[in-house]
């Protein structure tokens, strides 16, 4: 049998193991040796250190249950070192769920009565750490005895042991109450601290005890005064505060005693004011005491002056450099925002600033508090800040923030400006993992209240877009509920028919209903009938939509699925966002929704034109005309006409966007072509030239020729200078009309001057025009 190595040798051996496997080997060897040693009757001084080795191994995560009986044996040993390690082992290996724990009850009982206080201390410590209810019941009388008659060293431990006993067996609180009361007269800080903790525990558990202990308020105030005002006690001083641990516990007990009780609260008023003003707040320890004081002031029936003082302290905390203090301040403000709303409002600016903090926990607290502070008067600025915050949030945080944002939106719904609707929709599309939760939550909101236009609009949009998720029923973050297709359609119809819904809102609802036609399976006819009813609606916008959707059902049913499929994620630079910043802008909220509805359908070119248009307008205040250019080029406002034309056009062309076709490439000069039909016989050809050589090209001109029956009109080119390396391009638009529908060909002559001055000419013939 290998000789057992000392504890520290073993630790060194384990640490120097290079692999997990090696470490396991060492440990297995050692455990085998330890086991063998345990079986021997007596090894002299080696027993305790064997157990210590086992405890080390246990801390590394290896099984050590075979040491439990050894712990029991060691605790019963007369040797102090063995008891010490034995009790340590008991606290680590034996919890109340193990049967072996009962076996040490007798040893503990004996040791509680031991002549040596350090032995008593071991027993008390172990009982307070892992004592089961049964053990506590058995040993409670012993503890009570120690509470009354022993030295301070033992008394303070007995008090905390009693705390544990009361936690395990509530009834035993009665037993300790008298002793606890008398302990308050002690001078020893340790005992006082233990006594205060014990009384706190008794009062929390038992309202009768609470009544009785209220009489101790004057005593507690006295003790506290002693700590705060008189005497510098070097033993208990921490950065100028005399025994902050005791101060904090007393304040906490005063809070419990003063709650709902005028007399008690009055008695402590002066003291609290004193502590609040005199405590040095430059170090954490001072702030800890102030924090507890503030909590107490706000919880008891304090004078208004004192309350104001407390809230001001919290306000000061908010400005503290230490992030921990700011966090604490916000937690406390959250608790009182319901009752002292105005006081907290005063600090709104600082709180909103904390939204920009680096720390996620601080940000979350700031968000909760900000949401609580949203009111009719500050809604505009708050929403701006909150949306800014949400858009800068990382995705994970976004979902939890959105969860809170939605109820806020509900609360502020009526006053919210219209720019928030597209913003919120954009945010929702961006957090894909949240779609299910969002649609459920909004659906439920819709059921309860349809008076707030913004919320209803967002809700309708979401139901339309994510209706399938709503109907699926299961959702991780909210309780499951069975929503049937009829329920969803009922909700939308309610919005459609309600007199509270604005035309814009009804537009949202109608579109959502239409979208659902591809997401549900059974009630398509119902949707059809709803849509056709609105075909004769008085409201022009609704009528137009309804007729268009009708057409989707009838003539273009094969396209319905494609038209109504899931929206792509809206990019951040969309019109909704930039226009949100302009004041008094009547950018139609309806338009973004309607435009994006037909978004995926448009060929690429018009979409690009649309973007360019928006760019040109940039951040300008000019409102965009509703019926024009936004995605429906050359459309007239005849009801239903536009969409049909577009669809008509698309019947001939594939749904892919019109390609850019290279038609000429020589000597670094290249020419590409995009073709697009503008009417039955007309089209626009856009030629784009670029120069990839290292020298500039000037006087660049294009001439075009077409077959006789085709009419041609060259628009003015964008320029005639092609800088080197493709720094800029030249575009030339050519309008063609081919009434006889002859086979279209075009011959283009390119001429330009190189940088050396020589003239150059070339010709190219184009026989096929893709996109036609």
């Amino acid at each position: 049998m290998s000789p057992s190595i000392p504890l520290q040798e073993m630790i060194r051996a384990i640490r120097s193991a290079r692999t997990q496997c090696e470490e396991r080997g060492v440990i297995q060897r050692e455990c085998a040796a330890i086991r063998a040693q345990f079986r021997q009757v007596d090894n002299g001084g080696a027993r305790s250190h064997n157990l210590a080795k086992l405890l080390y191994v246990h801390m590394l995560g290896y099984p050590a249950h075979f040491g439990q009986m050894e712990c029991v044996r060691m605790i019963a040993s007369p040797r102090y070192s063995e008891k010490r390690v034995g009790y340590l082992g008991a606290m680590m290996l034996l919890d109340e769920k193990q049967d072996a724990s009962l076996l040490i009850t007798n040893s503990i009982k004996n040791d509680l009565a031991h002549s040596n206080q350090y032995v008593q201390s071991l027993a008390l410590c172990t009982l307070a750490c892992m004592g089961s209810a049964e053990m506590c019941r058995d040993l409670a009388p012993e503890i009570d005895r120690l509470l009354r008659a022993s030295n301070s060293y033992i008394k303070k431990k007995a008090a905390l042991c009693a705390v544990h006993i009361v936690r395990k067996v509530h009834d035993l609180g009665e037993l300790f109450a008298p002793a606890a009361r008398s302990l308050l007269a002690e001078k020893n800080h340790g005992v006082l601290h233990g006594a205060v903790v014990l009384i706190t525990q008794l009062c929390e558990r038992n309202p009768e005890a609470l009544e009785r202990f209220r009489k101790t308020v004057p005593d507690l105030v006295q003790i506290m005064k002693g700590l705060v005002i008189s005497g510098y006690s070097p033993e208990h001083d921490v950065a100028g505060i005399s025994d902050p641990f005791l101060q904090v516990r007393i304040l906490r007990l005063l809070r419990i005693l003063g709650r709902h009780n005028e007399t008690a609260s009055d008695a402590m008023n002066d003291l609290l004011a004193q502590v609040a003003t005199n405590t040095d707040s430059t170090k954490t320890v001072g702030n800890a005491v102030l924090y507890e004081t503030v909590l107490t002031v706000l919880d008891i029936k304090s004078e208004s002056g004192l309350r104001v003082l407390a809230v001001n302290i919290l306000g000061r905390f908010l400005l503290n450099n230490d992030r921990n203090i700011r966090y604490i301040a916000m937690t406390s403000l959250q608790r009182i925002v319901g009752t002292d709303h105005n006081a907290v409002q005063r600090h709104r600016g600082t709180i909103v600033d904390c939204l920009k903090d680096q720390d996620a926990s601080v940000k979350r607290r700031a968000l909760e508090l900000s949401l609580a502070l949203v009111s009719a008067s500050n809604i505009r600025t708050m929403m701006k800040e909150l949306l800014l915050f949400l858009s800068s949030c990382p995705p994970g945080a976004q979902s939890s923030s959105c969860q809170r944002h939605i109820p806020c939106g509900r609360k502020a719904g009526g006053d919210v400006r219209d720019e928030t609707v597209p913003n919120l929709i954009q945010l929702i599309t961006n957090t894909s993992e949240l779609h299910c939760y969002t649609v459920h939550k909004l659906y439920r909101a819709l059921l309860t209240d349809i008076s707030q236009p913004s919320l209803v609009q967002v809700a309708c949009w979401c139901i339309g877009e994510y209706g399938d998720l709503l109907l699926k029923g299961e959702c991780q973050e909210t309780e499951p509920s069975q929503v049937t297709e009829d329920d969803a359609l009922d909700a939308l119809e309610t919005v459609l028919q309600s007199h509270m819904s604005s035309p814009a809102t009804r537009g949202f609802a109608l579109t959502a209903t239409m979208k659902l036609s591809t997401r549900i399976t059974e009630n398509v006819d119902r949707i059809r009938s709803i849509v056709s009813i609105y075909g004769s609606c008085m409201d022009v916008e609704l009528q137009q939509r309804a007729v268009e959707y009708n057409a989707l059902f009838r003539k273009y049913d094969h396209m319905r699925a494609a038209v109504l499929e899931r929206m792509p994620v809206i990019e951040k630079n969309s019109s909704g966002h930039t226009n949100g910043e302009t004041a008094g802008d009547a950018v139609k909220e309806i338009q973004p929704a309607a435009v994006k509805q037909t978004g995926p359908l448009l060929p690429q070119q018009p979409a690009n034109q649309v973007c360019d248009l928006l760019d040109l307008l940039g951040g300008s205040e000019e409102p965009l005309q509703p019926s024009t250019a936004l995605g429906l080029p050359n459309s007239t406002s005849t009801a239903g006409g536009d969409l049909l034309d577009l669809l008509g056009g698309l019947e001939l062309t594939p749904l892919a966007p019109a390609p850019t076709v290279p038609v000429y490439e020589k000597d670094g000069v290249s020419l590409t072509l995009i073709c697009e039909k503008t009417s039955d016989s007309g089209m626009t050809v856009t030629l784009t030239a670029s120069n990839s050589t290292d020298s500039d090209i000037s006087v660049f001109t294009l001439q075009a020729a077409v077959p006789k029956s085709v009419q041609l009109h060259m628009k003015a080119p964008s320029g005639d200078f092609l800088p080197a390396r493709g720094a800029a391009k030249v575009t030339q638009m050519v309008a063609l009309n081919n009434p006889n529908k002859v086979n279209l060909k075009m011959r283009i002559r390119i001429s330009y001057n190189t940088s050396q001055g020589s003239a150059y000419q070339d010709t190219v013939q184009i026989d096929s025009f893709p996109g036609l």
């Binding site: 919890d95 033993e235 992030r323 921990n324 966090y327």
Partner: protein, 153 residues
Amino acid sequence: MQFMLLFSRQGKLRLQKWYVPLSDKEKKKITRELVQTVLARKPKMCSFLEWRDLKVVYKRYASLYFCCAIEEQDNELITLEIIHRYVELLDKYFGSVCELDIIFNFEKAYFILDEFLLGGEAQETSKKNVLKAIEQADLLQEPRHEYFNVPVY
């Protein structure tokens, strides 16, 4: 306090004191998850975090993280002070303590903790008294073979 954990930057546990009854398996799970959570935090972040339904207070001293889980009503700032006091005690006892001291004398670290906290609450608010008690208790230790007592690294 519900429990206190000390762990290194690599996530190795150096001390664990549990004041609530949990099975070994649960303790391991909690330890693993909490260690991961705390280690993932950046240096400038708040010392407080909400984890499951507990408040967790942690502070890093050199290469060791001291992590306490406290209850709803407990004062976070004073918990930071408790952690600091414990570090001071270790420092006084070992003379400029470092992680190795705690590794090779882990049982002493526990004894010191048990003189400072009892059942999860502070039992002695005077640093001097705690150290005196440890000293006295150490004297009671029966003499063992020489090589057991010499600190070896």
